[in-house]
Every structure is written in C-alpha cells, then in structure tokens.
C-alpha cells in the first residue's frame, strides 16, 4: 500500500511539474489531498502491520501521520489563496504546488519508515522539496535563504549518514547487518557502546537541522522566513516532527542500553541550549515570521527536555509536538493575511491589527495564548507535565532556569504580539488597506480548537496511541 501511495504521489508530482493549466493543477492538488486522506485511513485500518518491509504503521507514525493529513488541508487551501493573491506565473505555481505535494509525501513516508536508512532517504527528499518552496520568490533574499538551508541540510544529512555508518560498525559486534529499528532494539544489549555513542552524536546532530535544535537550528529559521507562509507552516510543524521521529526512534534503541544516562545528558544539554538561544533571539527579534520560528525552537527545546527528563516527560513530549504542530501552523497560516494588510514583516511597521481584521487578530491573540501555554491552551497541560517530569528527575535547578527563560520568552512574545494587535504603527497609511474575508481565518480557529480539545480532554484513543509509542522505553 505504501508503494502504491508513493507511486501515485510521485506521478501527481511529476504531472504537476509538467502541467501549466490552472484548473488542472488545482484539481490535481485536490486529488492528492483525497489520496492522502485515503492513505491515512488505510494506514489506521492496518494499524500495527508492516508494509513493503521498510514501513510499519506503528502508533507514533500513525499519530503524526494523522496530524500531517489534518494540517495538509489548510496548507493547500492557504497556498491556493496565497498564489491567487500574488498573480503567480503558471510555471512558478506548478513548481510550488508540486513541491508542496512532494514535501507532504516525503514527510508521510519518513514518519512510517522502520529502517533508519529509509528515514534518512526521505529526510533527504524533504530537503529537496523544501528548498524548491523556499526559492519560490526567486529574489536575492530567497536565494540567500535557500542557499543556507540547502548547505546546512546537506551537511546535516551527511552527519546522519556518518552516524549510520558508525551504527553499522556497532551492529557488527552483534553479528548482524540489519539496520531496522526493531532489529537494533532486539540486539541493543550486544551493540558496541563506543560506536553507539559516536552514532548517536552524529545522528542527533544531523536531525537537529529538521527538528530545530542547537546546533543546526539556523537553517530552519531562514527557511521559514523566506518560504511562503503556507509552506512555512508545514516546515514549522510537521517537518520538525519528522526530525523528532528520527531522533526519538533511535533514542528508544539507545534507551535500552546502559548508555541511557549519557544520552539523556546529551539531549538535555542540547535542549537547554536551544531554550537559551531561543530566548536570546526572541528578545531582539523584530520580524514577525522569524519570531514564530524562534518560538518553534523554544517549543522543541521543551519537548527534548521532556525526553531527557523521562518518566511522564516522554508522554508529555509526544503530546507537546502534536499540539505544537496545530498551534504553530495556525499562526503561520494567519501570517499572510497580516502581511496583506501591512505589506511588511517588521513589527515596527505593523500595528493596530484589530482595527483592520478583527477575526484575524483573534487568531493571533489565541495563537499567542496557546503558544505561551497559558491555561485554556492544550500546550499548558503538556508543558506542565514536562515541568513535573523535571521535578521528578530532581533537576530543580534546570527547572528554575527553564522557567526564568520561558518568562522572558513570554514577555517578549507578548510585547510584540500586543504591539501588533493594539498599538498603531507610525506612518502607516490605512486608506488603501485590503479587505480580508473572515472565512480565511476559519481553519486557524479549528486548528487552535483542536489543540485545546486534545490537551484538555484527550480522547482515549489519542492517549492510547501516545502510550503505545512509549511502550518500548524503559519506565
């Protein structure tokens, strides 16, 4: 089934690249969404089975796949609005839609793969498609962003490959050459620890480019800034989750070896540094899109702190990435309407948004409340659980430092968002402000509401899926 899915999707991508007719392109995009939905349903129905040797419909994969398929619908919708508002030439429209489809396909397959080399291959494909999306505007800034993204991702992909080589060296001590996660887990007691440590360092560093963690986070920031916002929404949510899947699946292996404590230390240091870096940048950032991107770094830092703390932190980490995907993508979807009003990215030139588009301003306000993890938001629950796990792990000083950093982030984020919402921008001529239909904000409200619902009143199947994806971790 995966093979059929991939073949049909690639066929759709190729025909999108070749076709120029507007109606055909959009109907192919619609067709792909239906196809993605069908595949997701089939994947849910075949839960727990292995398909085409290299893909397993396991709980973590299914959970994130459903998240992706939900976010893909508004992403397609907002891409349509974006392109129709920008009077794109047919060629650039085809390439944009084609790359979007390729990105969604590669992320889906990457989630489900049960073999580290296959995950790696699909991560490579996401680099390719994401760089086409970032380069969409074909100007100097887009070129700069794309170049940085491609170069850093190329290096990090090489790092993952080196990690895989070390992993295979480690596996040779166990007398095996099958690099699937299940085999690694079965042989975890016999793996050579030195090579395993090297493998973990390289694979972790490599995947941080996608996850958005220190040291490789810079590429993602520039990418989300220069890519069109609907594509940026995918990069800031589901693509980050792919990085998480890559790290987490390998982390499960290493957690079953005596190296667990060491791995926790590595992950914890990287997570704490990411929070620190995010705070520093959040305090001085003036570009709305980059502010959202840095907020993503902060959240990934919190997620990985949960992983490092262990216990209830594992559960909270997975809950957090799912909820964060909904919240952050809705903020990015709203961004284009904001830009249409002010024609500027800088906070100094944006202000009093409530006057021009009250519905959109509500999205920003609720998005801020969700992203800052204030009580009605679902992220509050997951962040609270992560803090509790840090407390349980007796990391009280880390917890205090994290809370201080988060306070600064919320202060700075709030200051900027309230400036955007209420304080009039100096010298802004509002006689020719474009009208925005309130319906364009509907999808964002739905996504934010989903995050609240899943956080405060999680349906039993959702909890069950999260718990099953943690079953292999030592408790």
């Amino acid at each position: 089934m995966v093979i059929t899915y991939l073949i049909v999707s690639v066929a759709i991508v190729i025909s999108l690249f070749l076709l120029r007719d507007k109606r055909l392109v959009y109907s192919l995009l619609g067709l792909f969404l239906v196809w993605q939905g069908w595949f997701t349903t089939q994947a849910c129905l075949h839960f727990g089975t292995t398909d085409a040797v290299y893909f397993t419909y396991d709980s973590l994969g299914i959970l994130l796949l459903v998240t992706l398929s939900i976010i893909a619908v508004p992403a397609a919708l907002h891409s349509y609005i974006y392109i129709e508002n920008h009077y794109e030439p047919p060629r650039s429209r085809s390439i944009y839609i084609g790359s979007l489809v390729l990105l969604i396909m590669a992320i889906s397959a990457g989630y489900l793969s049960n073999h580290i080399a296959v995950t790696w291959i699909f991560t490579e494909i996401t680099t390719l498609s994401a760089s086409a999306l970032i380069y969409h505007h074909r100007n100097k800034l887009a070129l700069e962003g794309t170049w940085k993204y491609v170069f850093i991702c190329a290096i990090s992909i090489t790092f993952i490959f080196i990690g895989i080589l070390f992993l295979s060296l480690s596996l040779q001590h166990a007398g095996s050459d099958d690099l699937s996660f299940s085999n690694l887990l079965a042989k975890s007691k016999e793996l050579n620890p030195v090579w395993l440590q090297m493998a973990f360092l390289f694979i972790f560093t490599g995947f941080t480019a996608k996850l958005g963690l220190v040291p490789m986070f810079t590429a993602g920031i520039d990418a989300k800034d220069t890519a069109p916002a609907p594509a940026g929404a995918l990069m800031a949510s589901v693509l980050m989750n792919l990085g998480f899947v890559g790290i987490f699946r390998f982390y499960i292996v290493i957690a079953n070896t005596p190296l667990l404590h060491w791995a926790k230390l590595v992950v914890g240091i990287a997570a704490f540094l990411s929070l620190f870096v995010a705070t520093v940048y959040m305090l001085k950032v003036k570009n709305v899109k980059r502010m959202f991107a840095y907020s993503g770094i902060e959240h990934m830092g919190i997620v990985m702190l949960g992983v490092a703390a262990g216990g209830i932190g594992y559960y909270a980490a997975i809950l957090h990435i799912v909820l964060h995907a909904f919240v952050k993508s809705s903020l990015f979807f709203q961004y284009n309407q904001l830009y249409r009003v002010f024609q500027n990215k800088s906070i100094t030139h944006i202000g009093n948004y409530f006057k021009y588009n009250p519905t959109g301003a509500m999205v920003l306000l609720l998005g801020f409340i969700s992203s800052a993890a204030m009580p009605p938001s679902g992220l509050f629950v997951s962040e609270f659980l992560i803090f509790k796990s840090l407390f349980d792990a007796k990391q009280i000083f880390v917890l205090i430092a994290v809370l201080l950093l988060l306070t600064m982030i919320i202060w700075s984020f709030g200051k900027n968002i309230f400036k955007v919402l209420f304080v009039p921008a100096e010298g802004f001529d509002d006689s020719r402000v474009a009208r925005t239909s309130p319906w364009e904000s509907l999808s964002q409200f739905l996504l934010l509401a989903t995050a609240v619902y899943l956080g405060l009143n999680p349906p039993p199947i959702f909890v069950q899926l999260i718990k099953e994806s943690l079953i292999l971790l030592p408790q």
Binding site: L141, A154, K284, N287
Partner: protein, 210 residues
C-alpha cells in the same frame, strides 16, 4: 597498498590547507577522486562485480571528472578571483590541520576494534573535520562547496571501511554524494553566480531578525 593511498590522501589535505589558488583546490579534489578510485579497487574485493564497476565508475567519472570540471567552469563563468582568501594565515591552517590529524590518531588508538581498519577511521574523520575547518575559514561560497566535497570524500572513505560487509551503505553514500552535489552545484551555484557578483559570504547576510 591501500595504506599508501590513504596516507597520500591525508597529505593532500595538508596541501589543501596551505594552497592559495582555487584551481589548486579543484586539482586536489580531482586527485582525491583518483586516489579513492584505487582505494575502492583494492578494498572492495568481496562485493559483486557489477556493483564494484558502478562504484568505480562513480569515483572516476563523478568525483574526479564531473565535479572538478564543473567547478572550474563556474570559476570562469562567474569571474571569481583566483585567490582562496582564507581568514587565517597558512601557517596556522597547517598547525590546525596537523592537530586534527593527531587528535584523530589518538582517538583511533583509544578505540580498539577488530572490525575496523584504524587508518580508515583516521583518514575519514580527519577529512571530515578538515572539511568543516575549510568551510569555517574561507571567505568565498565556492570554497564552502569545495569544503563540502572534501567532507563527502571523507564519508566515502568511512563507508569503504565497512563496504565489504555492507555494500548497500556504500551505494547509499554514493546516492548522497550525487544528490547533494547536484543540488548544491547544479542548481544553486549557477543561480548564485547570476545574482551575486564575485560571490562572498559577506553578501549573504541580508536575512536578519530586525
């Protein structure tokens, strides 16, 4: 024989550390491709002939012909000046390269492993870190690309060390090589040359937070 080739490979790194001209870098990259060709020929004795022929073809055609020719074409087309313009003097470069190699030898001595030939490990990791060093200390974008090619060669050496047991990984490495080089060189170096004249990293600082 393999050891001699790999030691020559390390010497090329030292040469690259003190080279001034971009054409020298390109020639060294081509030479590394040829060296890798012979390493593959002697090392991968146990894999099936078709795969071996494919890998040999890739090293000679891609690494030592296509990439260098394309790089020198880019140099000419974009009128890039011939100097490499390092941030650090050559002597410091040489010292740092030497220390990279020495540290790797020390690490290799600490890790005792029967499954891995020590020299492969030393050469691969030295090349990797030297490539990163090259990227960090040269001003031009095209030298960053060359640094990346050096890293790729290092990874290739490492994949050869276990190539007899897992030929699949060598093929994956080649896939990475071709994919990343085509993406970086083919698509973006061309475009960057069109948009930015005399390409310098200082020009790539327009994406800011404010």
């Amino acid at each position: 024989m393999i050891h001699v080739l790999l030691i020559i490979f390390i010497i090329t790194l030292f040469y690259m550390a003190i080279a001034n001209r971009l054409m020298t870098y390109i020639k060294v990259l081509a030479l590394q491709g040829v060296l890798l060709f012979f390493v593959v020929f002697f090392q991968l004795s146990k894999i099936d002939p078709f795969n071996l022929a494919f890998i040999l073809l890739e090293t000679i055609v891609f690494k030592s012909l296509a990439v260098p020719i394309f790089l020198s074409y880019l140099l000419k087309r974009n009128n890039i000046t011939r100097e490499a313009e390092p941030f650090l003097p050559n002597f410091v470069s040489l010292v740092i390269t030497t220390s990279i190699v020495v540290v790797n030898i020390l690490i290799a001595t600490v890790i005792k492993d029967d499954h891995l030939d020590k020299i492969f490990f030393v050469v691969a990791l030295s090349t990797l870190f030297f490539g990163l060093y090259l990227i960090a200390t040269r001003r031009k974008i095209i030298t960053h690309v060359m640094g990346y090619m050096v890293i790729e060669n290092g990874v290739f050496v490492l994949s050869l060390a276990i190539g007899n047991e897992m030929p699949l990984l060598v093929n994956l490495g080649i896939m990475l090589d071709i994919f990343a080089s085509v993406l970086i060189l083919g698509i973006f170096m061309n475009k960057i040359g069109d948009v930015f004249k005399d390409v310098d990293v200082d020009q790539l600082s327009n994406l800011k937070d404010y």
